[in-house]
Amino acid sequence: MSSKFQDLKDIAVQVRKDIISMTTAAGSGHPGGSLSAVEILTALYFEKMNIDPKKPDWEGRDKFILSKGHAAPVLYSVLARRGFFTPDKLINLRKMGAMLQGHPDMKGTPGVEMSTGSLGQGFSASVGMALASKLDNRKNRIYVLLGDGEINEGIVWEAAMAAAHYKLDNLTAFLDYNGLQIDGPNEEVMNIKPVDEKWRSFGWNVLEIDGHDFEAIFNAINKAEETKEKPTIIIAKTVKGKGVSFMENQVGWHGTAPTEEEMEQALKELGGEL
């Protein structure tokens, strides 16, 4: 029996399979933080954002910036499945001469709005994009995804302050709050709590959701759209490695590619409702 959002759930499964296959074929990459953001990107690209894959540079489009650029596999998969380029390109991730660079390259890949990878910078650029839309009286919306480790960066708070100062209510940030960064849990590496209070005190509208629940994601995006004079951050509680039992909540899967056997097990687990 198909449940609500079944189409999106099916796409999410496909995207997770892509992430596993791509990183295995590449022999490197970041599966953990890609898997945690699957529902957020699927909701944006397949439902919420006003985009045209055939005209990736169309002026009125909504924009998504992957500020946590190391999660490139989830972005590439979603772009391919949405028709920005053919899915056969995915398998060449990180290969010499391939279109899909290790971190997003806006000049080389259709649909990539900003070259990111150095943390915090995509978020800063999203502030510039939101300012530009305001200046041109464009109704498009700017979405940006930050990692929880990423908010250790000073530029994030510079940009957060500026977005509130300029009342960028056309900007919606997501925090992929999976609790883990490269060297371990956030609390051990650099405590970011209380995350919600930090953003609130910087002048942001703060919403907290389960980042794997489509209904919650859409409700939050809609609330963000209704909020005037303030940017919104949706703190999305997520599971790093979501969907693959041996990857879930394991910090080691931040930047390690699966072996062939691990890939087979993961794909089997992700299953075949498709």
Partner: protein, 314 residues
């Protein structure tokens, strides 16, 4: 007496004019708009002026986002903070995607003066020219600054424009020269030796040339206002037509104009060279003229170094 105008003054003036001509021009500053002279643009076009507060990294990142949305951002702060603190944002968010941002940094070099070493950018040219896709411009006076800022606004891609705090002599007549990005200017002809200078050192080189003439030495003076891409032809021509090259810059001798010229000379047509600049040291507080004197950025020192070099060739 020659008129003296700071290159940052020229910048402030040009910006307002550019703002009138092109609606896509936006200006960002980091709480230094009175010093960088962007405040006049802010007054004229408040909607297109963004004070980002004291946050140089976000200044550059936001400029990148504006450029990615079709705007032509001019991002200004002091050269130290633009190219030092925000280096990596300039590299990764502006130059890697070749976004159309003009980094117009003022208070470059030792002539910042009294503020001292922490504020005297002496490595900015080296840092900026090492980034692919970046164009690096260092105007000699207010006239060339004006012309080159117009040229930069028409060029599509990242440009670093180095501007100064101190008032400096106007050496160019607007009518007599053309300023094209990437084209050096032979300001004065000469057959014995070539002095290649950049920025406010062009004026000092011209003064040294006059003194050299009195001793029967004919020095060619070239203004390399675009350090990258550098005008190879004008440099190679000088190596063929004169015996030696002396470079002069208000910058560390490591990685700046001297290095850029030497890269062209050694690969194409080696001749003896001498590099005049700050000798790999930090600056200090003082009046600009006192500091120029102490660090050898004077016509006298250029005169002496040219003679030393020519004497070695005898």
């Amino acid at each position: 007496m020659t008129k003296k105008i700071a290159t940052r003054e020229a910048y402030g003036k040009v910006l307002v004019d550019l703002g009138k001509q092109n609606e896509d021009i936006v200006v960002l500053d980091a709480d230094l708009s009175k010093s960088t002279k962007t405040s006049s643009f802010g007054k004229e076009f408040p909607n297109r002026f963004f004070n980002m507060g004291i946050s140089e990294q976000n200044l550059m990142g936001t400029a990148a986002g504006l450029a990615a949305s079709g705007k032509i951002p001019f991002a200004s702060t002091f050269a130290m903070f633009a190219t030092g603190r925000a280096f990596e944002i300039i590299r990764n968010s502006i130059c890697y995607p070749k976004l159309n941002v003009k980094v117009c940094a003022t208070h470059a070099g030792i002539t910042v003066g009294e503020d001292g070493a922490s504020h005297q950018a002496l490595e900015d040219i080296a840092c900026m020219r090492a980034i692919p896709n970046m164009t690096v411009i260092n105007p000699a006076d207010a006239i060339s600054a004006e012309a080159l800022i117009y040229a930069a606004s028409e060029y599509k891609g990242p440009v670093y424009i180095r501007l100064g705090r101190a008032k400096v002599p106007v050496i160019y007549n607007k009518e007599d020269y053309e300023f094209e990005i990437g084209k050096g200017i032979e300001v004065k002809e000469g057959q014995d030796v070539t002095i290649i200078a950049t920025g406010i050192m062009v004026d000092k080189a011209l003064k040294a040339r006059e003194d050299l003439l009195k001793e029967g030495i004919s020095a060619r003076v070239i203004d390399i206002h675009t350090i990258k891409p550098i005008d190879k032809d004008i440099i190679i021509k000088a190596t063929k037509e004169t015996k030696a090259i002396v470079t002069v810059e208000e910058h560390n001798i490591l990685g700046g104009l001297g290095s850029a010229v030497a890269e062209v000379v050694v690969e194409n047509s080696p001749v003896p060279m001498k590099m005049i600049g700050i000798n790999d040291t930090f600056g200090e507080s003082g009046k600009p003229d006192q500091l120029l004197e102490k660090y050898g950025l004077t016509p006298e020192n250029i005169f002496n170094k040219v003679k030393e070099l020519l004497n070695k060739l005898k």
